[in-house]
Symmetry: C2
Subunit: 184 residues, 2 copies
């Protein structure tokens, strides 16, 4: 199956993400990339914050709360938390299938102007470029029912929202960057 | 300059890292890779924990304490912390220059058996593969002199050491993996 058929097949499939819908903030980016003959997007997340517990492996991890928007103090409150609960903030992550190595090279040059951690995931049958930000939080929030943050909750809220705001502003900038590059 | 000359030049240079020496835990991995005609290593970190403050950008960030070994409770104690201080645990990270795309492909297949986040950083003049683990902590630890972790310090120590232990065990496994693959 060639790249054009793969692209057609992939873009006809339903969204299989946990969220079940595409984040509004990345729609412009996806549209621009999918309108280009050399690219199609295979997954994306516009950045998020969540509370989780478990081993961290895919089938051994439970998400207790998640937000793709800024949060308020209530977000960090759990009624009856068990065991160890982590708070995580994740950056923008986008996977893009590319027609050939020349297309990979062009996208990486563009993406790395803003997202230094962007890279090519494999040289196998599919060429997938990962575009990713660097904003991160990963901290223990509860253990055995005890809340582990000793500061004001509003301070934690502000820290998390500052990270998310940086993620969202980066998305807008990247949207303009790829829009302009495709016009020229 | 061709790959063999670049490799010779690079391996003759002094170590320019903050630490100023190569972590003992990655020496086997570096030896095996540098003995192979298609690869040379350009930087590595065997995993570490540190306290930092600043903007997070390279020239605006101060490291207050750092350890490449397991820590004890004292590690988290600062005498007179100013402003916001973060605690960060980072995984194993290795950069490998590769002779050509075939060499990139072989290394990525091997590395991704264990380190799923490994990837090719660019298709420019140099082909650099990044091998990286996924263990991470990034949490606010002090603000305006106030310690922000509400649990027992020994619990925080245990969490950090569990991450570092996972990093170090992964390194041993990866060392055996690439040693065996180069024998066969």
């Amino acid at each position: 199956m060639n790249f054009d058929n793969e692209k057609k097949t992939f873009l006809e499939k339903e969204d299989k993400s946990k969220k079940g819908s595409i984040d509004a903030r990345v729609i412009l980016i996806l549209k621009v990339l999918n309108a280009h003959q050399d690219y199609y997007t295979t997954s994306s997340c516009s950045g998020r914050v969540y509370l989780w517990q478990g081993s961290g492996k895919k089938n051994e991890t439970e998400w207790l709360k998640v937000s793709h928007e800024l949060v308020d103090d209530d977000f960090f409150i759990l009624e009856n938390p068990n065991g160890l609960v982590w708070l995580r903030v994740e950056p923008f992550i986008l996977h893009v299938a590319c027609r050939d190595l020349a297309a990979v090279h062009r996208l990486l040059i563009l993406a790395r102007m803003q997202y230094k951690k962007s890279c090519l995931l494999s040289l196998g049958k599919k060429l997938i470029v990962e575009v990713r930000g660097s904003e991160f939080i990963e901290m223990p929030l509860y253990n055995k029912g005890r809340f582990l943050f000793a500061g004001e909750i509003s301070f934690l809220t502000a820290l998390v929202n500052a990270k998310l705001t940086a993620v969202f502003l980066g998305l807008e900038r990247f949207g303009r960057l790829i829009e302009n590059s495709h016009k020229s």
